[in-house]
Amino acid sequence: MSGSLLEVQNLDRSYGKVHAVRDLSFTMQRGQITGFVGPNGAGKTTTMRIAATLDVPDGGDVRIDGVSVLVEPRLARLKIGYMADQFHPYPNLDVLQYLDFFARAYGLRGDRRRRTVRSVAEFCGLVEFADRPATGLSKGMGQRLHLAKTLLHDPQLLILDEPAAGLDPRARIEFRALLKELAAAGKGVLISSHILPELGEMCDSVVVIERGQRIVAGTIAEIQRHQELEQAVVARTIGDAAPLQRFLLTQPHVGEVAIDGARLRFAFGGDDEALAGLLAAVVQQGLPIVEFARAEADLEDIFLKTTKGRLQ
């Protein structure tokens, strides 16, 4: 099918005097992972709940694969997997029984149900925990179970509200790999998180909102270009970094230089040729340099530059 997988159109939602979401619009394609970031209370959860048909907006609409969540909520529900920011399993049920119940609830029957439950449990690394009580899992394992439940009916669009909160570093890396695998299989993933370096690493694009309004949207590179964020360069010398700092400050295109231990980070406004010239000059000066590279595109910078930290 053509068209976007997710289209948020002029969404509005107020709670009394709090305008949680105002005139928010963005789109998302298939096979993409889109990060949804903003300060606390920016309206991320509200937007995601509306997209998941669990809340209704005061104005605007959300289309999933062309289906309006307001006109055809039942159809839309089958296309999405929503992982809420909180997870409450049933008491007195095993992990497998829990998954089995939701597989039944999604209308899977017979062998298909058993196979799906098994492969989803394997995919999320839950097999060892199959007969643990679902209420007795650690936070991270609970998140995995929650994700597994979300994947049971093979949804086209995953809406994940802070899914990585509480995961250990290894689990996070695995989780990231899972999401990338899902995106490679053609699913869309809309994911909110406050762990920006990680989000920046896996997302194809981001939407930044603050106080319910869209601040910027696009790929990280696009936003950087658009925001004219100065490219940063990181350098490291052997021993004291102060001589290098003093030298850099005398050079053209170099902005602020910050020392962080043996490392230096400085803003650089020139192009690649100018950067090569700078490196040659440093070497000529006889400064013992061991590392010299442009810093990776950074979602944190975008976040800090575009949002103003006004909470609501």
């Binding site: 209704v56 039942r74 529900r77 007195n92 039944r104 609830a105 062998d111 058993r114 196979r115 093979d154």
Partner: protein, 514 residues
């Protein structure tokens, strides 16, 4: 399809017979059974019941040698069953629904393919499984008492039948009360209502059984030949409560833009058909007069209660309902009465009132000769007109509030409050002015209870012209509202037809291109 759900080449898990059987069952039922087996409460309850039953049976058997029959033991067993099926089973359903609502689990459920109806139905099935289990625990006791010749088979079967019907209705009521709690403001009310309602019912029934009144009543019933009307009435009543609970639970669980009203409105019109059919089929001719008058009067009250909900809805059609309006223009009129919206709600009440009036006009010449029937008929007429007045005010009030679900709830509290004030304020005024409440005067005209009481008797002829005038006035005032309600529906129908035609044209164009 992704890696996740593609067919797994791993050797297929062998399906146990239970797994195969459970494919046909409601998922909720399967889960509740699994939870019950893992949990502690259920096995304990069953064990305790078993102990009680065995004790009673042993006691009865030891007494039998002294010449007592098994009658006492049977009713003791029945009294054991009452709290189980009227309190424990419905409370279990209530608790499980509450757990789901509290943890937001219900949202996960609603995102699945399970409909709210399937959720409720699964809970009812669970209740029935528990019922059968408790009865089978009781079975040895029942067999003992039967063998001791204390009770006959019809009594046993009838008692179990009653217990089952009550268990179903109580569970449906409990689940729908729990579902109301999805609105936080109603949580306290729901919990209190359910605990009180079920508690009172349980104690009342235990008393009824243990005091021997039940034994006498059922004996009399079995001998009198009124068995069929009584049993059918009970079954119909339980069905009524169950369907109503289902509608209520559904209305709280479905998406905010789904159509929650049409079910109630259709039910409002269909239930009386069943009631009258029951009268024609199950009641002897000589009782028709009383039964007809009583039922018709009851229906006027039910109509006002439904009306209070209908006129406090949001005004417009939701995007979903609009998109799913009927396609045939001929359906515009019935749709205007049955589709959601407070304007259409008031119209729906009016149509219901007129229909009831017509039924009354057909029935009263034949069966309305007795004094009681006449009084009931007049009261019913006044209730209908009062309903029209109060519901019109209610609709207007609702229009002053925010156009969201909260507004609906607030209006539903305000309407009874308004009635209360209309009753109390004139009384307070009388007390302040003259230190005592004088007789009825015009200030009490908005007090339906007193006014009806004053005018159904000798003063009826004075009330008739006023009633007609008020009814006509309310009717005329309603015309523009009804017109607007109709226009919204016809616009939705036209939009739907245009979309369908557009779709057809596009499809034809695509075919032509090929």
């Amino acid at each position: 399809m992704t890696t996740i759900t593609t067919d797994d080449p791993a050797p297929a898990l062998r399906a146990s017979p239970w797994s195969r059987l459970s494919d046909r069952l409601n998922p909720i039922l399967v889960r509740e059974v699994q939870q019950a087996i893992k949990g502690r409460v259920f096995p304990l309850t069953v064990f305790a019941t078993l102990v009680v039953c065995v004790s009673i049976a042993l006691f009865a058997a030891s007494r039998h040698s002294e010449g007592a029959d098994g009658r006492g033991a049977f009713y003791a067993g029945l009294a054991t069953l009452v709290p189980l099926v009227i309190f424990i089973v419905p409370m279990h359903a209530y608790q499980s629904m509450r757990t789901e609502l509290k943890g937001g689990i219900v949202e996960q459920l609603l995102l699945s393919r399970l409909t709210p109806g399937a959720v409720l139905f699964g809970k009812l099935q669970t209740a029935m499984v528990q019922f059968v289990l408790y009865v089978s625990v009781l079975a040895p006791l029942l067999a003992t008492t039967y063998l001791l010749r204390g009770v006959d088979l019809p009594t046993i079967l009838l008692s179990l039948g009653f217990a089952m019907v009550l268990c179903l209705a109580a569970t449906a009521f409990a689940v729908s009360s729990a579902a109301q709690a999805i609105v936080p403001a109603l949580q306290g009310v729901a919990s209190l209502g359910i605990a009180l309602g079920l508690g009172i019912a349980t104690f009342g029934l235990i008393g009824f059984v243990l005091s021997g009144t039940y034994a006498m009543a059922i004996g009399a019933l079995l001998r009198s030949g009124h068995l069929w009307p009584a049993v059918s009435a009970l079954v119909l009543l339980a069905a009524y409560v169950t369907v109503l609970s289902w509608l209520a639970a559904r209305s709280f669980l479905v998406h905010a833009f789904e159509n929650k009203s049409t079910g109630f409105r259709v039910f409002l019109f269909v239930a009386p058909v069943f009631a009258y059919a029951w009268m024609l089929l199950a009641i002897e001719l000589r009782y028709w007069s009383e039964v007809f008058a009583g039922m018709t009067f009851g229906m006027t009250l039910i109509g006002v209660c439904f009306g209070a909900f209908m006129v406090t809805e949001q005004r417009g059609l939701s995007p979903r309902v609009r998109a799913h309006a009927p396609a045939a223009p001929a359906l515009a009129l019935p749709a205007t009465v049955l589709l959601p919206g407070r304007d259409r709600g008031l119209l729906c009440y009016t149509v219901y009132a007129v229909a009831l009036l017509l039924v009354g006009m057909l029935g009263w010449p034949a069966w309305g000769s007795s004094t009681e029937a006449k009084l009931l008929g007049r009261s019913g007429l006044m209730v209908l007109v009062y309903g029209l007045v109060y519901l019109s005010i209610g609709r207007w009030l609702r229009g002053r509030l925010a156009d969201n679900l909260q507004g609906n709830h607030i209006a539903r509290v305000m309407l009874p409050l308004l009635l209360f004030l209309c009753i109390v304020l004139p009384v307070v005024f009388d007390l302040l002015v003259s230190d005592r409440v004088r007789g009825w005067h015009l200030g009490h005209v908005m007090n339906p209870f007193w006014t009806i009481d004053q005018f159904v008797g000798d003063r009826w002829p004075r009330a008739v012209p006023v009633l007609i005038a008020v009814a006509v006035l309310m009717f005329v005032l309603q015309l523009p509202i009804a017109g607007r309600a109709l226009r919204e529906v016809t616009a939705a129908i036209a939009a739907r037809r245009a979309r369908a035609a557009g779709g057809a044209t596009a499809a034809a164009a695509a075919r032509a291109e090929e």
